[in-house]
Subunit: 227 residues, 2 copies
DNA sequence: GTCTATAGAGAGATAGAC
DNA sequence: GTCTATCTCTCTATAGAC
C-alpha cells in the first residue's frame, strides 16, 4: 500500500507483470502467434528483459499454465475436500470450476487451445498440469466414502467432466466471440450464475441425483404443441 | 472408377487434395503454426503450387472453413426442415450436428481454435460462415409453427446452442488429448452414439420436454449415501 | 500446372554495455 | 535488472523456367 516500501522487490514485481501479460496474450492469440515483443510492450519493458526471467518462450508459456492450473486445482481441491456427502461435494466442485473460469476467463481460451493442439504424437503441454486433477478426483470422489459414487450412478466420469468442461469454456469464450452484436458479458455475475445453474442441472441429471423437478416440470403430451 | 478417364480434371483433383490436406493441418496445428510446406508435402507437391490455386495462406484457410461449414449447414438444414413437429425437429438437428462432427472431426478443432481466437476488436474468420446458421435456426425453429418454441420452454437458445456445441467439440477433441493413455476413439460408432444420447438428454432437459424418465429414475433420499 | 530460386519480412535468441 | 545491437533461422510470397 505504501509506495516507499514496496512489499515485493522489483524483480518479483516485474516477473509477475510478465506472467500476467503473457497469460492475457497467450490466451488471446495462442502460442505461435504471440510475439514476445507484444508481451514486453504490455509490461512496458523490452523484449530482452523477458528472457532475463524466462529462458525462452516455451518456459514462459509453461509458467503461465502452471499459474493458471495451480490456482484452479486449489479451488477445486478445497471444494471436493469438504466434509459433505457425495453429491453435494461434486456440485461444490463444479461450482468452484465455473466460478474460477468466470473470475479468470483467460483459462477458458488457454484450455480451448491446448485441446485443439493435442494430436496423436504430440503430448500437449497441458498434460503436465492435469495429472493432479485426476489424482484429486480419484481420491475425493472415487475412493472416499468407500466408493459411494458407484451407488449413485454408472455415469462415465470422464464423459461427465468433458461435458462440463466443454460447456463452460465454450460459454465463456464463445458467447462474445460468435455473437459480437450482443452486448453480453458471460462473465457478469448474472450470466455466470445462470450458467452455473444450468451446468449443475446437467450434473444432477447425469448423476441421477436430480430429485423431484421443481423449476421446470416435464410437460406431458396433453396440451403440447405436437400436431 | 476407371483410371483412363478420370472424372475430374487434374487441376480440380489437385485443388481438392490441397483443401483436404489443409483442413487436416490447420485443424491440427492452427493457422499461425501451419506451414504451407507441410500442406504441400502432404499432397506431394511443392509449396509454390499451392499458390497457383489459392492466392495466399489466408485464402486457403477461408476456403477450408467454407467447405467444412458448408457441409455442416447442409446436414443441419436438412434435419430442421423436416415436416415433424418441433421438439423432434430440434432433436434431429442436434443429432445431425453430432454425427457431422463425428464424421469430420477436424471441424471440432477448427471451431475450438476459432472460438479461442475471437477477441474484442478481432472479428474471427468463422463469423462469415456462421450467419447462415443463425438464419436457419430463426426460420426453422423460431418463426415456423407460429412460435411454438416459446410455448415449449423459456430457455435461451444461444445458451442451449453454446452448451451443445461446447460439449460435442470438447468431447471429440479433448478425450484423446487429455487421456492419451486410454485407447479410446470418441468418433467410434459406440462412443459417438453414447455422446449423442447424452446431448439429447441435455437438450430435452433444457427444453423441458424430457417426459417421464425411464432409463435412470431419480433416486429419492430413502437409501442414498447421504449421511 | 508444377517446378526452382530468391527476395524480404518477422521474430526468437544471444552478447554485451550500462 | 534493463537496455541496444545483432545474429540467425524460418516461412511467406514472388519471379520466372519448363
Amino acid at each position: 500500500m505504501s509506495q516507499a516500501a514496496p512489499q515485493r522487490p522489483r524483480a518479483e514485481r516485474t516477473r509477475i507483470a510478465v506472467l500476467e501479460a503473457a497469460e492475457a496474450i497467450f490466451a488471446e492469440k495462442g502460442f505461435a502467434a504471440t510475439r514476445l515483443e507484444d508481451v514486453a510492450d504490455r509490461v512496458g519493458i523490452r523484449r530482452a528483459s523477458i528472457v532475463y526471467y524466462f529462458k525462452d518462450k516455451q518456459e514462459l508459456y509453461h509458467a503461465v499454465l502452471a499459474g493458471v492450473f495451480g490456482g484452479l486445482l486449489e479451488k477445486i481441491s478445497a471444494a471436493l475436500s469438504r466434509p459433505d456427502p457425495l453429491p453435494a461435494r461434486i456440485e461444490a466442485g463444479v461450482g468452484a470450476w465455473v466460478d474460477y473460469v468466470g473470475a479468470r476467463p483467460s483459462i477458458a481460451r488457454l484450455i480451448l487451445r491446448e485441446v485443439a493442439d493435442a494430436a496423436p504424437g504430440h503430448r500437449p503441454a497441458v498434460l503436465e498440469h492435469t495429472r493432479p486433477f485426476f489424482d484429486l478426483i480419484r481420491q475425493q470422489v472415487f475412493e472416499r466414502d468407500g466408493g459411494a459414487i458407484a451407488r449413485l450412478s454408472p455415469i462415465d466420469p470422464v464423459h461427465l467432466a468433458s461435458t462440463i468442461a466443454g460447456a463452460t469454456v465454450f460459454f465463456v469464450a464463445a458467447m462474445p466471440a460468435l455473437l459480437p452484436d450482443l452486448v453480453l458479458d458471460p462473465v457478469s455475475p448474472a450470466h455466470l450464475a445462470a450458467h452455473r445453474e444450468e451446468v449443475l442441472g446437467i450434473v444432477r441429471r447425469l448423476l441421477g441425483t436430480q430429485g423431484p423437478r421443481k423449476t421446470r416440470p416435464a410437460r406431458r403430451r396433453a396440451s403440447g404443441p405436437e400436431e
